[in-house]
Amino acid sequence: MKIHEYQAKEIFASYGIPTPKEKLATTPDEIKTHAKEIGLPVVVKAQVHVGGRGKAGGIKLATDESELEKATQILGMRIKGIEVKKVLVAEAISIKGESYLGFIVDRSSQKIVAMASSEGGVEIEEVARRNPKAIQKLYIDPLLGIQPYQMRTLATFLYGDKGLIKSAIKITQALYQIMVEKDCSLIEINPLVRTEDGRLIALDAKINFDDNGLYRHPEIESLRDLEAEDRNEIDAREYGLSYVRLDGKIGCVVNGAGLAMATMDLVKHFGEEPANFLDIGGSSSPEKVKNALSILLRDENVKVILFNIFGGITRCDDVAQGILQARDELKIAHPIVVRLTGTNEAQARELLKESGLLFATGMEEAARLAIEKLRGV
C-alpha cells in the first residue's frame, strides 16, 4: 500500500525526523492562506501516487503572488492521467546539498537493505545504474536490528562534518524504527537536504507498506486514499478477491493467481487482449463467483466472459451451479465460456450445456472459443 508524501511526513515528524514547515491544501484559497502563514517563498507539491511529478509540472516554486497564483493551477491538473486533488504547501528551503537515505526489504538476501547515496533528488535505481559508487549499501539482519556501526557507516559516507554525522545517525535510527514498527516494504528520504545553516531536513518522503502487515496496523490502513485507487479493486479486496483492470475485451475469472496470469497471457498469445486479472481463490463458492462477476461487468469493455477453473479438490458441479446462479441473478447476457477441470467434470459439463454456456475441456480451447465469440459478435 502506498501513502502520500504529506502522510509520510506526518509519520516522519512523529518519529522526530525534521521536515519542512508545510500544510495540506485542497482549494486555491487554502493554498494562499497557507502560503501567507508559512511566508513566501513556498513550494507547492502535487500529492499523487505517481513518480516524476516534478517533470510533469506538479511541483512549483512561488516567490511572489503571481507565481503563487500560477502554482494554484496544480490543483485539478492531470499527472499521468491522475487528477491532482491535494497539494502540499511547504516553506522553500535554501539547499546546500542533497543526498538519499532509505531502507527496503530485499527479496534476494531476505534481509533489510539500507542505502545511502551522495546523489539525492534522483531515483536510486538510476544512480545504481549510472554511478553505483555513489551508493553505500548495507545488509541488516532483521533479528538483530540495525547496529550502531552500520548507522555510523551510512552517516559518514554522506557527511564529513561531526554535527551533520550526528544528525544523520539520529535520522537513520528513526527511519529504521518506522520501517520495522510499521511493516514498511520501502521507506526513503529523497532528497535529504543539508541547509545553508547546517541542518538536515527530509524534503520529500516515501513509504510503501507491506500489504500482509496491514492487519496489525489499523492506523496505517486508515491512511489509504480511496479516491486514488480503483473502486473495483477496493471492492474486490473486500470480497476476498484479487482484481486488476486492464484494457481488453475478454473478462477472465480464474482460480489461483498464477493460472489467472497464464490465462491472460494465453488470450494475448492468441491475438486478443484480456480485460482484467481476477483471482477468485481456492474455494470457488457461488457467492464468490457472483461477487467476481458483479465487479467484472462494471467494465463496459468486457464483451465475453472466460472462466478458467482448475478444480483440483473443488467439485466442478458446485462451481457450475455457482456460475449459473450468478448468471441468472445478475441477468448476464454476455457469452460465457467455461473451462472446468477436476472432480465431477462430466456432471458440470451437462449442467452448463443445457443452459447454453460454452464448455471447454482445456484452457487453450477455452481461450480460442472466447476469441471466436468476441470476433463473431
Binding site: N212, V254, V267
Partner: protein, 289 residues
C-alpha cells in the same frame, strides 16, 4: 527415489482442528501419507479422523516420531507455529498459510540459518512425491509417479502444467510449490540441488512468474551447475507494472521482474521455455521420448 517427502515422511498437521486443517489431513491420509499427529494448543487428547491431537509440536514429536510438519493455521498465528516447529527440530516444515508479514518471514529466515530444519513456503500449496506422500493441498489424482521434477511459485498453474505432463505419458518424481510470497524458505536453486542428486529425476520443470530476481538467479546457477534438461514457463507477460497480481511476490517494481527478462534469462541458460502451459508438456515429450 523422490526428494523432501516420501515413504519415510511422518507428518504432523499444525492446526488440524481447523476447517482447512481437518479437511486436508483427511485428504493427505487418504492419499497414503503417513499422518501421525495433529497439533492444536488446548485440544490435546482429542483426535481427528483417528489422528491423535497434541498440545505442542514438541510433545507430538516425542510421542509419534514425527519428522515433518504442515501448517494450516491463520497467518497471524503461523509465524509462531513455524518457530515452534523449528525449535522442535523437525526436518521439514511446509507452510500453507497465506498473508504472513514479509518482515516476520525475514526474521524467520535469519533464525533458520545454520539449523537442520528446512522450510517450504509460506503461501505454498505444499509438495507431493506421487504414490508416496502428499503434504499440502495439491490434488493427488493429477500426479503419477515418474521422472520429472517440478518446482513452482504457484498453485493451480502448477496443476495445469502437471496435468498436461501426466496426460502426455510422463510422471513426476516430486512436485514442489515453493510459495508465492516475497520471502520464502526454499527457493528454486535449493530444490534443484536436491534434484541434481536424485537419480530418478531425469528432467526438471520450473514454473516462475513476474516479480523478484529468483528466476534470473536460478538461470545463472543452472548454467554452471545443472546438467539435466530443464523446461520453464513464466506467467505474467500481460501483467501491468507496479500492480500486485494476487501473489504478494508477483509484482513488477521499479521496472524490474518482468516476464520478458525472465524468459530471456531462462533461454540464455539453455532452459526450454513453453509459450503456453500445454506447450511445456509438449516440449518435455519432444525432448525426452
Amino acid at each position: 527415489m523422490s526428494i523432501l517427502v516420501g515413504k519415510e515422511t511422518k507428518l504432523l498437521v499444525q492446526g488440524i482442528t481447523g476447517r482447512d486443517g481437518s479437511f486436508h489431513a483427511r485428504m493427505m491420509k487418504e492419499y497414503g501419507t503417513n499422518v501421525v499427529a495433529g497439533v492444536t494448543p488446548g485440544k490435546g487428547g482429542s483426535s481427528v479422523d483417528g489422528i491423535p491431537v497434541f498440545n505442542s509440536v514438541h510433545e507430538a514429536k516425542e510421542k509419534t516420531g514425527a519428522n515433518t510438519s504442515v501448517i494450516f493455521v491463520p497467518a497471524r498465528f503461523a509465524v509462531d507455529a513455524i518457530y515452534e516447529a523449528i525449535d522442535a527440530e523437525l526436518d521439514l516444515i511446509v507452510c500453507i498459510s497465506e498473508g504472513i508479514p514479509t518482515l516476520e518471514m525475514a526474521k524467520v529466515m535469519s533464525y533458520l540459518r545454520g539449523k537442520k530444519t528446512r522450510l517450504i513456503g509460506p503461501n505454498s500449496p505444499g509438495l507431493i512425491s506421487p504414490e508416496e506422500a502428499k503434504v499440502g493441498i495439491l490434488p493427488g489424482h493429477i500426479f503419477k509417479k515418474g521422472s520429472i521434477g517440478v518446482i513452482s511459485r504457484s498453485g493451480t498453474l502448477t496443476y495445469e502444467i502437471v496435468y498436461h505432463i501426466t496426460n502426455s505419458g510422463f510422471g513426476e518424481s516430486t512436485c514442489i510449490g515453493i510459495g508465492g510470497d516475497q520471502i520464502i524458505g526454499t527457493k528454486f536453486i535449493d530444490c534443484l540441488k536436491l534434484f541434481r542428486e536424485d537419480d530418478e529425476t531425469e528432467a526438471v520443470v520450473l514454473v516462475g512468474e513476474i516479480g523478484g530476481q529468483d528466476e534470473e538467479e536460478t538461470a545463472a546457477w543452472i548454467r554452471e551447475n545443472f546438467n539435466k534438461p530443464v523446461f520453464g514457463f513464466i506467467a505474467g507477460k500481460t501483467a501491468p507494472p507496479e500492480k500486485r497480481m494476487g501473489h504478494a511476490g508477483a509484482i513488477i517494481s521499479g521496472g524490474s521482474g518482468t516476464a520478458p527478462e525472465k524468459i530471456k534469462a531462462f533461454k540464455e541458460a539453455g532452459i526450454i521455455v513453453g509459450e503456453t502451459p500445454k506447450e511445456v508438456a509438449e516440449r518435455v515429450k519432444e525432448r525426452l521420448s
